[in-house]
């Protein structure tokens, strides 16, 4: 099913360019993230799938292979390339992220309860990770993107019980999945970029323009 939709939407050469653009974008994003946040971060080779919106929960469930619960950070981005980014961490990862990103205990004495601190850390880290990946894709494809504030779409959500898709069921979803790994804390997160038909049309043109910019 998945491969079928992918083949219907992208020709082989388009798929190959898309894959390489994502390889470069995510590679550059990890290099610059390491510099910006001072933490060694590894982004896996992005895996690109096209699916139907209604198939997304099942797909997430299989991909994440988690029987536990997850936290989902959502952020909309708007440019010629537009859509919705979903960053998914297993529940509990927010504690490790907090240790990682709040090493100098900046917020501990600020009469903020732990729950808020963990939520806000998830959102801020999500904003940087999503911005890094989208920012690099936009840069490679000569697009300028703006963003809505990120929000914590779901806290401790059980994917297996969840049959409601986070996107419109009849929409097409290009899922670009990467796994983040912060070496010091061993936190894993998944990023999915969900985009629409209009962006796909633009994307195809931009992919060839990217290729033509060489030589």
């Amino acid at each position: 099913m998945t491969a079928e939709i992918l083949n219907n939407i992208f020709a082989q050469d388009e798929k190959d360019i898309l894959q390489e653009v994502m390889n470069i974008a995510f590679g550059q994003a990890s290099a610059e993230l390491a510099e910006v946040i001072d933490i060694f971060v590894i982004l896996s080779v992005p895996d690109i799938q096209v699916l139907q919106g209604s198939d997304l929960p099942g797909y997430l469930c299989r991909e994440l292979q988690t029987s536990g619960t997850v936290n989902i950070i959502e952020q909309n981005f708007l440019g010629k390339f537009a859509g919705q980014a979903l960053l998914i961490f297993p529940s509990g990862a927010e504690k490790d992220l907090l240790t990682l990103f709040n090493q100098d205990q900046e917020f501990i004495n600020n009469d903020i309860d732990m729950d808020t601190l963990e939520r806000e850390t998830l959102i801020e880290v999500g904003n940087i990770l999503i911005g890094a990946c989208i920012g690099k894709i936009a840069e490679l494809l000569a697009d300028v993107v703006t963003y809505d504030p990120p929000r914590l779409m779901a806290k401790d959500l059980c994917l297996e019980d969840c049959n409601k898709s986070p996107v419109a069921p009849d929409s097409f979803v290009i899922s670009i999945r990467t796994v983040f790994r912060f070496e010091e804390q061993n936190v894993e997160g998944y990023l999915f970029l969900i985009t629409n038909q209009k962006s796909i049309d633009w994307l195809k043109k931009a992919l060839f323009a990217f290729l033509e910019s060489f030589g």
């Binding site: 610059e32 001072d38 801020e124 904003n127 940087i128 911005g131 890094a132 920012g135 993107v145």
Partner: protein
Amino acid sequence: MIFSQIFETINTGLVVLDKEMCVRHWNRWMALHSQIDSSEIVGRNLFDFFPELNRPHFIRNCRSVLAFGHFCFFSQKLHKYLFPMPPAGSLAEEFDHMQQSCSMGPLRNESGEVESLYLSVQDVSEVVSYQKKLVRMNQTDPLTGVYNRNFMESQLAKEVVRCQRFGHELSLLMIDVDLFKNVNDNYGHQCGDYALKEITRRISAKIRQTDFLIRYGGDEFCCLLTETAPAQSLKVAELLRQQICDTPFLFKEHEFSSTISIGVAGFDENDVDVESLLRKADSALYQAKQSGRNTVVNTAS
């Protein structure tokens, strides 16, 4: 021309910073609220004026905006404010500093490269004040002013997690006013209300700031004693019982006495959740009632 007018007159703080964190623009709103004129700060490093911003978190966000051209949002919930400024008008009674919601974004040159960044500062003190009021209303019992059951459920869940994680002690007192119906029947509901208020006043005076008194139902109260072992909480319960029965109540021309029964339960490793702790306290309270009221019963006994 139009844009510079907007920049100066908009009801939002606007700052432009270059890659070295040097201030390039500082609008009138910023000048008015920070008491720093743009002629003083433009061309100077932001951290010379606001050393509290020179911390990893802020710098990390600046760097990421410059590197990726995305936006950063500094939530009021986490930061309270970025720029320390006095709150406007009567809000000064509630806040030490103006509560701010700030965001940051890239500014590009003609070739599209990110060259500098802007910061916008929004005064959200009034919204925060309103939110606080709503939260308070949602958590308190209107008659007695102590916490309500809604608050208790979320607080108890948090405390239980804390106990499990850090091995803290936690005790729960389930308190019921003995034969409260008689007060209402004999002296009227107004008097009943007075009795409930007086009882919570006496209890509140004897517990610590870190403990929580909750009106659980009509004449049922609950006391959460944090970091308190059962032996200690028994003493507290006994003290509370005396506070009620030792001094008669006085409402208009009526003088009457009242007593309370208390069931005490301590959190231990057998308690998997909130429910099991509540059940223990409830059954202790039931025993207290059975044994003739005006008594304290511990789960262990």
